[in-house]
């Protein structure tokens, strides 16, 4: 089975400051060599801390920011400069953002916001309006009550439902959810997560679920991608990755989560320091200055993202035979 969405070697650098001759002084390596594939009907979760490049990756996929390089293909068709037009890409892939208020035009009614997409894509006025009503009902908002309202009249949870309806209005195949439930209170977050699961089944959607909340990512995802400082450090099927994290960073990240029940209190692996600045990241493995098991090789050679079997990939010398690490532990025996 070929993947619905394929991404290869996605890269974005930002210059910081300029010399008198216009050359950048420093470079932020926001996203570097990010590759993944998502099969139709699946959910790929992308996790990582702030500054790891997960949101930049989402924006690059949508071409909201043009990538420096990299290949984005839906159903084998490539999009971007010199390929198929970005408009078509955005018809097939839509996005829901974290800030539900900032992502709606305050001067448009809810109906106008949702109907905008279909109308601009060739649907008639009445078709577009009917679509808006149907979708509002589908995301759990009574159309008669909400259709003429403005974003400021709605609560955060209601606004996020409107954003979801708007994303679905042009019948995309892929929806990118960038921290889409992170700003919501827990009781409302549960409603929206349930809604997303229902919509996925009903419209046969494929999700990219970006979040810093590891519990939620585990709950919604089939596959997970872990990012650190602009790079993918580990990916694989959700159960295996959570049960037996292969990268020391993934392990620390999972261990840092507070227990959600008093009976499950645990001791945490505590990393030193904050995630470093993506301007001039550390040489070798970008995680090595904070890594509890780093060796000399980790500061010198950048570990490639390597296939370690069972659909799992990891960028860590400790898991790569012949890397020069003193005690390479293949994944199966790792505890």
């Amino acid at each position: 089975m070929t993947a619905l969405l394929e991404v290869e070697g996605l890269k974005k650098y930002y210059p910081v400051g300029k010399t008198l001759r216009g050359k950048p002084v420093q470079v932020v390596k926001a996203v570097e060599n990010v590759s993944f594939a998502v099969e139709r009907g699946k959910t790929l979760g992308i996790v990582g801390e702030s500054g790891c490049g997960k949101s930049t990756t989402a924006r690059l996929l949508m071409h909201l920011i043009p990538p420096d390089s990299g290949r984005i293909a839906i159903d084998g068709q490539e999009f971007g400069e010199g390929r198929r037009p970005v408009n078509e890409l955005r018809r097939r892939m839509q996005m829901v953002f974290q800030d539900s208020y900032a992502s709606l035009n305050p001067r448009l009614t809810i109906e106008d916001s949702i109907a905008f997409g279909p109308r601009i894509n060739g649907a008639s006025e009445s078709q577009s309006r009917r679509k808006a009503r149907d979708l509002l009902a589908r995301v759990g908002l009574d159309p008669d009550h909400f259709i003429r309202r403005y974003p400021h009249e709605l609560s955060g949870g209601q606004r996020q439902r409107v954003n979801i309806a708007r994303a679905l209005a042009i019948e995309p195949e892929i929806v990118i959810l960038d921290e889409a439930v992170s700003a919501l209170d827990k009781s409302v977050q549960a409603q929206v997560l349930n809604l997303l699961a229902d919509l996925k089944a009903e419209f046969h959607l494929t999700y990219l679920f970006i979040s810093h909340d590891l519990n939620v990512v585990q709950y919604v995802s089939d596959e997970v991608l872990v990012m650190y400082l602009g790079q993918v450090v580990e990916s694989g099927p959700v159960e295996k990755l959570y049960a037996n994290p292969a990268h020391p960073y993934t392990r620390a990240l999972l261990s840092a989560l507070p227990a959600q029940r008093p009976s499950e209190r645990k001791t945490h692996i505590v990393l030193q320091g904050d995630p470093p600045n993506p301007i001039s990241p550390p040489a070798g493995c970008r995680f090595h200055p904070r890594c509890p098991v780093a060796e000399a090789v980790c500061g010198q050679v950048e570990p490639p993202l390597s296939d370690v079997g069972s659909g799992r990939f990891v960028a860590c010398h400790m898991r790569i035979p012949g890397s020069g690490y003193s005690n390479v532990q293949p994944l199966e025996v790792a505890v």
Partner: protein, 333 residues
């Protein structure tokens, strides 16, 4: 607790009302709780539940012209609500101090971190600048800021988020307060940094012996730091008691609903989240009845009547007329 600890904080029937442009907002209603020496109480609730407003009442940090506060707030035997301005200023930072969610906004950007800590020490202890700088250095080392001596002369924007929050804690604890108020201090931090700060707070509490009042919306964070919890909803404390008991065996339907709505580690993907329908109440009128009743699946006609006083038993408190109803308890468990 084996020994009977003295209450450092006693709050009784606290009511806080704000005057807004569109009428009053009844932010906190009839809140009462105690905090003993060395204890940590987590005020747990969603946005708008009144937890931060309650916290700020302990230092009277609300805008005075717009706020009406009634009730009793006693900290180390002193009545906070009737204090004059001078006594209040003496108390802030000395007896009670606070750590905020966003340390970038809490520090003054034009003074160095070291000078801001020293200023607080001089203000409250009247010592020399040198002695105060030494205290600042000691505190920066205590919160484990790397190369603390160098960072005394740093400005807040030169530090990372985690480091700024450590510096904020150093400032808050520089005059050895009896009570530390923490308002979502780790919410803006990344997971790997959050756990560092939570463990640091626990350790400092052991060393310095202060009591902590910790506001959070995150059940996991509350479990990590607190031994008692008070769950807030619609401006009231609806349930309180030892945290293990309250969160293992919740009595109030809202506490139960909040736990059921939270994704927990290892949760089965086939399992549906039990969402609480509707949204939290708006507090534009005094709510005398149960604020949760419109969203509660156990609510009856009686729940629309004014709430009777809370039920207290087994060292716990719950504010719900149906809480001990066998039918409700069976459904919750």
């Amino acid at each position: 607790m084996t020994r009977v600890a003295e209450n450092v904080v006693e709050v009784r029937n606290l009511n806080v009302t704000f005057k807004g442009e569109e009428g009053s907002i009844y932010a906190v209603t009839d809140v009462s709780f105690d905090l003993a020496e060395g204890e940590t109480l987590a005020l747990l609730g969603e946005s708008g539940s009144g937890k931060s407003v309650t916290l700020k009442s302990l230092m009277r940090l609300h805008p005075p012209h717009k706020t009406t506060i009634t009730g009793q707030v006693r900290v180390a035997g002193q009545e906070v609500l009737s204090m004059d301005a001078a006594t209040l200023a003496d108390m802030r930072g000395k007896l009670v101090s606070m750590v905020f969610q966003e340390p970038m906004l809490a520090f003054d950007p034009v003074f160095t971190i070291g000078d801001q800590i020293a200023e607080a020490v001089i203000r409250h202890e009247g010592c020399s600048y040198e002695a105060a700088r030494n205290r600042a250095l000691e505190m920066m080392e205590r919160v484990r800021i790397p190369s603390a001596r160098k960072r005394l002369d740093a400005y807040s924007h030169e530090m990372s988020g985690g480091m700024r929050q450590r510096a904020m804690i150093a400032l808050a604890l520089s005059c050895r307060p009896k009570v530390l108020l923490a308002d979502e201090p780790t919410t803006a931090l990344d997971a790997t940094v959050q756990i560092q700060v939570l463990l640091l707070l626990k350790e400092l509490q052991k060393e310095l012996g202060m009591s902590i009042l910790f506001v959070t919306h995150d059940v996991g964070v509350a479990i990590e730091v607190a031994n008692k919890t008070a769950v807030m909803y619609g401006g009231r404390i609806i349930e309180q008691g030892p945290i293990d008991q309250v969160l293992t065996d919740p009595w109030h339907p809202y506490t139960q609903g909040l736990l059921a709505a939270t994704v927990y580690p290892g949760m089965d993907r086939q399992e549906r989240l039990v969402a609480i329908p509707g949204s939290p109440p708006r507090l534009y009128r005094p709510i005398r009845e149960c604020a949760f009743a419109p969203r509660c699946s156990y609510a009856t006609e009686a729940c629309k009547q004014p709430l009777p006083p809370p039920m207290v038993s087994e060292g716990r408190m719950v504010h719900c007329i149906r809480a001990k109803d066998p039918a409700v308890l069976a459904a919750i468990r």
